[in-house]
């Protein structure tokens, strides 16, 4: 059965040429729902968040990027904005010496440039991971990016800040990230971290996952340990504060 799944994934192009190149997030419950037990390399993932809550989505994307790149190569961050702050990203595991910032022009042409640059970068196997802050993206473009990612075996992230859109897309996973209020989740999921601001808590909804199970997760990033903790969120959306089991990585 596992072999069959692998073959399907290989045919779908998810997870590289042998269908096994995946990066687990270190949370067993969550990884079990992902195809092959982790986020596949050589695939495009989408991370969405509200524009007013840009911090949460950005930080979550940084954690994913650092995981996906895992020292294989530099991380490219393609953006039109000028507000990315490397000292903050370093707190989420993205070291400045691994980061290459591509600042496209702030106009419409910059948007096209970003997608072009992402496609080029995804085809370059020496790259660790690519993130693009993309605006609108049609299905054709998203297919192109997915194909490029499969060719190069490089994971790509599309960070979409703004009103939530549910357009068709060829991305393998789609996450919607919001901030998780309260200390309850934080203290329940992760060991106490001196300051409340040393740990960040998000509700990450896995809205779509090709070959896996969608779900909703409460995640806590522990800055000092550089680890992600998490558990499935309760359906009432009241946070994971009362969840019994914490699952360290």
């Amino acid at each position: 059965m596992a072999e069959l799944r692998e073959r399907v994934r290989r045919i779908e192009g998810v997870g590289g040429a042998d269908g096994r190149a995946v990066v687990p997030l270190g949370i067993p419950d969550l990884d079990a729902g992902l195809p092959g037990g982790g986020l596949p390399l050589g695939a495009v993932h989408e991370v969405a968040g509200a524009a007013l809550d840009a911090g949460s989505a950005t930080a979550f994307a940084a954690v994913l990027l650092a995981r996906l790149a895992a020292g294989r190569g530099p991380v490219l961050w393609l953006t039109r904005a000028r507000d990315l702050y490397a000292p903050g990203l370093a707190g989420y595991g993205l070291r400045p010496q691994d980061l290459v910032l591509v600042q496209a022009r702030p106009d419409r042409a910059g948007e096209t440039d970003i997608l072009w640059a992402m496609e080029e970068a995804l085809r370059c196997p020496q790259v660790g991971a690519v993130l693009a802050e993309a605006g609108k993206l049609d299905l054709t473009m998203s297919r192109r990016l997915q194909l490029a990612a499969e060719t190069g075996g490089v994971p790509g992230l599309l960070l979409q800040l703004g009103p939530q859109r549910l357009e068709a897309s060829a991305a393998v996973t789609r996450w919607h990230v919001t901030a998780l209020p309260g200390d309850g989740a934080r203290s329940a999921l992760a060991p106490a971290a001196g300051s409340a601001f040393a740990a960040a808590a998000w509700r990450a909804e896995l809205q779509r996952c090709r070959g896996g199970r969608p779900g909703c997760w409460d995640l806590v990033w522990h800055g000092h340990g550089g680890r992600l903790y998490g558990a499935a969120s309760t359906p009432d959306g009241q946070g994971a504060g009362d969840l019994g089991h914490a699952a360290p990585a």
Partner: protein, 587 residues
């Protein structure tokens, strides 16, 4: 000591009037024309065209005399600056024959004339020999309405003299190497580029031609006329080298291609580029260098002498001499060339080259299977791209064992050896690749976006948030060791507003964190706050400027869990309301 150089001297005897004539309306184009200048309160002829000269008008005459000789003469104001600009453009245009061109800034024998130097050493055979080149050059200028004479010789002096005083026969004016003396002998003294007073003085003693000067013993000339006549003679005969500097810096590496039939199709242009790149890269390899900047120049067959060549330029982030890679950089902009009826000459120059660190081109891109890490999240030590050729110059903390293994495993093909389990478990994320980003990709992105848009953050030792990170161009060489990371115990925002935005804040006590704040017309209730972290401006950076007030930073979390970085500006003063700003978003 005859040198092997071949110099072409181009003379435009009526440059000033030819230039003015091209602006004349068609009805007046055939009339004699003089350029006039105001001199000591009266108008004098500064330059006269051939027809005016035939009527007896010569430069220096008062305009009234010229009018008396030829009542129908047209007058225009002389403009030496425009003449000089035209010469500069011509020198640029003449690069289609040779990369080495310069404007002749010396005396021009005739007022209103101009000249160019072309070093055509090794170029003439591309255009049908020296005679063919001269014919081509002069004919093109004639079609553009510029009278021109050109001569080729082994020395600058001989070429200069022949272009101005040689002929009428034999045409074309070519002085074979070693025969300068016999060609120059019959020419008059001004052919030696001597100042007019000296020529007058020499004439007064009966020396009227170069032959007469050649016979005289040098010892008799020097005391009376100084070393110049002898020096000019030696330079013209090639006994003394005469250095000339080209109008533009000469790139050490360049290649050019002239076509019998103009090329215009994209496939042909690409083929030519491949050919030129191959030549240049061979030259670079022989010199142990790599290109940092390349220029592709193309001359259209229908372009006049004043049209500059079409130019495409690309830059690389690191010295590179891989033709395939450089071709990829040119590829996106290749369709910007407008061939029209076709290009006659194309050239590729390397204006900037740097030493190439080491040769490793064997390690192209590793086969795909070498790049897929094993499952279960075990980071594969062998993943490092082996294909990054020579882009890691002296990275201090390079781990040799990690760096070398992947390269070999890739060369030997097949799957890479799995790392020893003990080693694999040891680091959570082994940093196999070192520092600089994939240079080929950076070049490619830079070719379209501009290399200045590709940046690497570098920590700077400063508490001031705006100054804590420096964005360096990705192609800048790493200077010194990697600076230490920012302290981890002070959470910083992941996004920092380029300019802090004022917010309205409700705080119970001036020194307390806010209870709620309003930003961009939205009210946020603070559920939890942390701070203050006081950060003062670094007064020693700009001691002469008014000091920036210190900031008290607070990290706040709203009821929704969003987290912001706020600060209060300056110290509390009872008579002023506190000013608050939003500066960033925490994760």
């Amino acid at each position: 000591m005859p040198s092997s150089r071949r110099i072409l001297s181009l003379w435009l005897p009526c440059l000033a009037t030819d230039r003015l004539r091209r602006r004349l309306p068609a009805a007046e184009a055939g009339r004699p024309l003089v350029a006039v200048a105001a001199e000591r309160g009266r108008l004098t002829v500064a330059a006269a065209c051939r027809q005016a000269q035939a009527a007896g008008i010569s430069p220096g005459q008062p305009l009234a005399d010229a009018r008396a000789l030829e009542p129908g003469v047209l007058t225009r104001d002389v403009d030496p600056a425009a003449d000089a600009a035209l010469l500069e453009r011509l020198a640029d245009w003449a690069r289609r024959w040779t990369p080495w061109t310069a404007v002749d800034t010396g005396p021009q024998v005739l007022s209103g004339a101009g000249g160019l130097w072309l070093d055509i050493t090794g170029c003439a055979h591309l255009f049908g020999g020296e005679a063919g080149l001269i014919e081509d050059l002069v004919e093109r200028l004639r079609r553009a309405g510029l009278e021109a004479r050109a001569a080729v010789a082994g020395t600058t002096g001989a070429a200069w003299a022949m272009a101005r005083f040689g002929g009428p026969l034999p045409w074309p004016l070519i002085v074979p190497p070693g025969t300068e003396a016999e060609h120059l002998a019959p020419l008059p003294l001004p052919a030696l580029r001597l100042p007019p007073p000296m020529i007058t003085a020499l004439r007064r003693v009966g020396l009227r031609s170069i032959a007469a000067l050649l016979d005289k013993p040098r010892a008799a000339l020097v005391p009376r006329y100084g070393p110049l006549p002898g020096l000019r003679l030696d330079q013209a005969l090639g006994r003394v080298e005469e250095p000339l500097s080209p109008g533009r810096p000469q790139p050490a590496h360049q290649a050019r291609q002239a076509f019998a039939e103009p090329v215009s199709t994209p496939e042909d242009l690409r083929r030519v580029l491949v050919h030129l790149l191959g030549q240049v890269c061979r030259g670079l390899a022989a010199a142990g260098q790599g290109a940092r900047r390349l220029e592709l120049l193309a001359w259209r067959s229908d372009a006049g002498p004043e049209a500059p060549p079409q130019t495409l330029a690309v830059g690389t982030s690191r010295p590179n001499r891989d033709p395939a890679h450089l071709l990829r950089l040119f590829q996106p902009s290749l369709d910007r060339l407008e061939p029209g009826p076709g290009f006659e000459v194309m050239a590729l120059a390397v204006p900037a080259a740097e030493p190439f660190a080491q040769e490793q081109t064997v390690l192209a891109v590793p086969p795909p299977q070498a790049r897929i890490p094993p499952p279960a999240g075990r980071p594969d030590l062998d993943l490092v791209a082996g294909g990054r050729d020579a882009e890691q110059p002296a990275d201090a903390e390079a781990d040799n064992t990690l760096r070398h293994r992947p390269a070999f495993s890739v060369i030997q093909g097949g799957t890479p050896p799995r790392p020893a389990p003990a080693k694999a478990r040891e680091p959570r994320s082994p940093r196999c690749y070192q520092g600089p980003p994939v240079p080929e990709l950076v070049d490619q992105l830079g070719a379209r976006l501009g290399l200045a848009r590709i940046l690497r953050p570098r920590p700077r030792e400063s508490w001031w948030p705006e100054r804590a990170v420096a964005l360096c161009p990705a192609d800048a060489p790493a200077s010194g060791p990697e600076p230490p990371l920012w302290p981890a115990d002070r959470p910083r925002p992941v996004r920092l507003l380029p300019r802090p935005e004022p917010v309205e804040v409700v705080a119970p006590v001036p020194d307390d964190p806010p209870l709620q704040f309003r930003w961009r017309d939205r009210l946020y209730r603070v559920r939890h706050a942390e701070g203050p972290e006081r950060i003062a401006a670094e007064w020693w950076r700009a001691p002469d400027q008014p000091e920036e007030p210190l900031r008290d930073y607070y990290r706040v979390e709203t009821g929704d869990g969003q987290r912001f970085w706020l600060y209060r500006l300056g110290l509390f003063r009872p008579d002023e309301p506190a000013r608050w700003f939003l500066h960033g978003f925490l994760g």
